[in-house]
Symmetry: D2
């Protein structure tokens, strides 16, 4: 048959009760629809691990409440990822669980006013103890104003220090504590948009100045990591600020031989046709230069609570030897991040030069008021 020459045939999935998780994922590569995408994701993550690649995990959604704390912790400890970018909620819930406080198996149809009276906060089908959140709020407020210095902190440094302090009191290991020990940087671009923000807004005295986050330095640090990485790969669980933050870092880089992430996989329940960044395809990202023209990439349209435990288990199995001998990126944590022998003090992001700026304002018919008045 002529077509078989050009297009490889699919291979219907065969049930084998003795199959490992990795066997199932391998077979999925030859079926269709999102199952095939998950099979491709399985391939791509293994390729990232085998290549000289800095691997980023973008973690959005309520994944700690969703049961992902130990998965992320495992990935950090075994260096199946190298940098984590997360929403604040996932990290705050991580503190909650590390202190020995469980989430609860709940019901999405429960009466929410009854839960309110019981001081239980609902996350779809899962509850958490509101009172313990308030305790952690107070702890973070006190900690930030007594343990930290009076200067702006990157979210990375702030979270590293929290990991350090938490390690001293935690009942269980989690994301922040394992990242602290492994030296894996965690960025949280919208850190004030979470219980961290709620906690730090609680000022005990009027004269206490608000805690300062050094947001722009977070941006610069991530761009620096991209610049000095041999290759980069990204894994997105959901979209949101973590995905956008990692994606935008790739376009800041001013390296002639860098054309975006070489490996990219995302697991999202969102769809491309709504136009948002969370659901957009990696093909779209190529137009922005965020993804390499010949990148290995796939989008898996699925709830991460189904797809990711399977994927992580399968890769942990298949890639165990690759992981052991992996040439892991090394970070030096501190006020400045050290990476590959560099810090921000010997690196900068060059802005558009003045000549090109003037030429573009002219060519594009933009207002001349945009032009800088002179000296650079």
């Amino acid at each position: 048959m002529a077509h078989t020459a050009k297009y490889p045939p699919t291979e219907p999935f065969t049930v084998n009760p003795d199959d490992s998780v990795a066997d199932v994922l391998n077979k999925m590569r030859k079926i269709s629809f999102q199952g095939r995408s998950l099979g491709q994701a399985f391939d791509i993550w293994q390729q990232m691990l085998a290549d000289r690649c800095t691997i980023w995990l973008g973690l959005s959604g309520a994944m700690t409440a969703g049961g992902f704390r130990n998965i992320v912790s495992y990935l950090i400890k075994n260096r199946m990822i190298d940098v984590l970018v997360s929403t604040g909620a996932n990290l705050f819930h991580d503190i909650y669980e590390s202190l020995g406080s469980p989430h609860f198996l709940g019901d999405p149809a429960e009466d929410d006013l009854k839960l309110r009276e019981a001081h239980l906060d609902r996350v779809y089908d899962t509850y958490l103890d509101e009172d313990i959140f308030r305790v952690i709020d107070r702890w973070i407020l006190d900690w930030a104003h007594t343990e930290l210095e009076n200067r702006p902190y990157t979210s990375r440094e702030f979270l590293y220090e929290i990991g350090r302090s938490l390690s001293g009191i935690a009942k269980e290991d989690g994301i922040l504590t394992s990242a602290y020990r492994a030296g894996v940087p965690i960025y949280c671009p919208a850190i004030a948009d979470s219980s961290f923000g709620i906690a730090l807004a609680g000022r005990k005295k009027k004269i206490l100045p608000p805690f300062q986050f050094n947001l722009i330095r977070d941006v610069e640090e991530t761009a620096m990591i991209f610049e000095f990485s041999a290759e980069t790969g990204v894994i997105y669980i959901g979209g949101g600020t973590p995905k956008n933050f990692i994606q935008q870092s790739a376009v800041i880089v001013d390296r002639e031989d860098y054309f975006g992430h070489k490996y990219a996989l995302q697991i999202t329940a969102d769809a491309a046709h709504w136009g948002g960044l969370s659901g957009c395809t990696f093909s779209e990202a190529k137009s922005w230069g965020k993804i390499h023209p010949r990148a290995r990439m796939t989008s898996v349209r699925a709830d991460a609570t189904i797809a990711f435990p399977i994927l992580a288990t399968g890769v942990a199995d298949t890639a165990r030897h690759v992981i052991e001998k992996r040439n892991k990126p090394v970070f030096e944590q501190g006020s400045d991040l050290g990476f590959a022998g560099h810090t921000l003090s010997d690196w900068q992001v060059p802005p558009l030069d003045r000549i090109t700026m003037q030429a573009l304002v002219q060519e594009k018919g933009l207002p001349h008021g945009l032009l800088p008045d002179g000296s650079e």
Copy 2:
């Protein structure tokens, strides 16, 4: 902590590279969101198999093109399901593959006019050979008008006979051939709405009368199976006519001790908030009396090509001993279906009685023109 007493805690998923598929599914029961639903589905299917239960599979979507032929065939051979209700497309594509014709690994972004010229039909990321479809069309047309008798056929009998004939020429075993051998009934309520309809619409001579399907008898047979089953359980892949057909059969049954399906699980990417039957919850189905008030039930919001291979593999593993010694429902295939010692000839569906009809027309203020004129 007080809450732990009332609500069991979640258990964050731990990665273990040596976990079996069943291990992963077991752990998912204690996490959140759709992962938990999949874990519940894993439980429920095992419970169906252990109970005295007739298990129905509703198969919608393009699942044969999606790579599911061998999965469904496995479920039939191992009697992990007892009755199949499917769209016509899944069965027609099954013939295609049983004849040795593969689907092809394609690209959703391919130029569809080029595919048209190459006689390739696209199903999202998968192609099939249009010319072979035309051959099968012609074969079915000839077969139906020469091999079958000149009388209306239920879709069940029609598909049983096709399974028989196909078994003689097929290169590989598939859904229709394994169902034929296992005596598992297959119903296809919208059979003309598929390539079967296209095939049978091709009349060679004007005088050849159209082939007749005995649709209402299909409805009656399925209701009869419900009536004489100890318990019933349903598994829906997608929604569509298969789900509706199985659900509606439950309400036809006139048995005092039957209150709907005792076990129900569905895997669908649809959402309840659009209002359609495909995405609706089993809770909604309780208002109609289709689901037992105390049924074990769950809806998994996921692409079946991800969730179902995993689920089927896990159940095949865990339930292997239960499956072996299972008290399987037995069907006698023929013009009339025999089940549990009964056929339609000794069973009937009693319509609303005349007295109640009159009372309701009066009470509800309905037009009297609805009333029958007299004798029953």
Copy 3:
């Protein structure tokens, strides 16, 4: 700016409190995402009406329960559509409402067991009176076995006759009654998969034979309408059997100058990436030859209860003069459908000829058992 020459600019939507519905739709054509798609749908429907085009409406989902009865009735009366293909549920619910029985404003979080006790069936946020359904079931059973002849009926003829009888007793005009009066054909390819099937399965006496639907003739009739239409256009609300049935008819047609629908719009909440027919793009349909290579087409990803009332109101406004002078397709209802001077008695669908069949079996390596034994 160079890009403006090649790509027209978007025009941000401006709020004007005095805008008509049509004004809003016109502006949407120049914005982005699904709003743009809805604006395109507005254009395409107007173009269908202005062209010599047979316009098909595929109606899936629970749209009568959703509040669409009068919209569809309006489209039929004003001939903004020419042929309707529907699920059985939408037509059965139409009878219910035509008899003066309302649906009720309900709550998706209501206790379904309480509704069950109150004989209320829930459709997401809407309830209906179960007792009245049972009355209609009985009426249809009696009606079919006393008013109709003892021969197979196409769903089209059956529904035409029900429209006629319903017109005599209905309290309000609806889909079936207005289609009856306008001579607009209604097809229901899965008619037994609905309360019609439940009703007709209720056999009063064992000896009463089941009512017969002539499904294949439905397929042939729709193909004949395509063959003798100057152009065809399709409007899909949801997917399901109505979409598939209309789409498949286009490929049966054996007309050298027919290449599929010239105009196509769908409103669906489904997504293409699940691989199913309901959510697939019209581009995919081109590979199958269902859609014209240069068709005007758009998919609007939206709940029809939002998008369609707006769309129908806008088109009814803008196209009112086009609608008045429209050259409407004329159908002669009866046992055989008459269209454009033809009936099925002078038309046939030629199957694949024997020579090509033999050649393809050889070329594709298919089993020789597929070949007819000889004479044609």
Copy 4:
């Protein structure tokens, strides 16, 4: 009929070509599914405007690229909203358009590498000019380091100052310029996670310190507005950081008579069953105390590019007299925000008191290391 007494009947939608947008929305309240939700949203927004209510708009997604700049600008000018919380992207794209640069009507199936070569960035079906983005980046960098003082800025003050400067050079009015003139505060909790972050990361000289955002003060300001508002209402387009940021502010407030937002509506294509904050219901938010127990609230599951232009037009029409005489909240912009006679200097957020903290640590079995060492 008994049921009508308890549950009001639905009213099928009737098409009237002369209906205004508001007429259509009014009718939708009596149909089902998401159409009903949109009808309810229409009611709720009108109620907010009529009440003594501070109205918040959370703007997520790529809505400026989507064509929403003039809608948001209209809402600000006519004070149909009082505070805006947005992603950075929507505000950066607003600058782009205010400078006279259009987005372009594109194609989601376009070759993204060709777009890359043409310096066009794609947002689903819409393109923008990459070169102009680079010009704006440079302008913002220069502007921030020359026009602003060397101290941390809230995102609110930063955006107010950008609105001021932009007003001097803009070719068209937009979100930032109209908010500047109307004194409407704009918050951007993840401002560095956008082209603002990219721009400010471009440091011309190594010694130039990174620009500082005063994130926690943003949090405190929004909480203060909630505290001194008579009532609060929220409108969410999409979810993301804007929704979370507004929702969390409600829980910071320490007012005995404040129980969360009294009015709440969201338009999102997300679903609740994925567990994320973006798609969650307002019922879930009640368990957190973010929504008033008796709030008027609805979630419309739809693409905002369809639902919001219609909703905004309808409310602008119906509520025009209410809007004119509305008792609008007044803000005094400056380094500190003034609202209702207060600034942050005379207000504070009390953290959990020390006694309760100790009691909870004991009761919940939390590590004693959480406790502050002593004096408050």
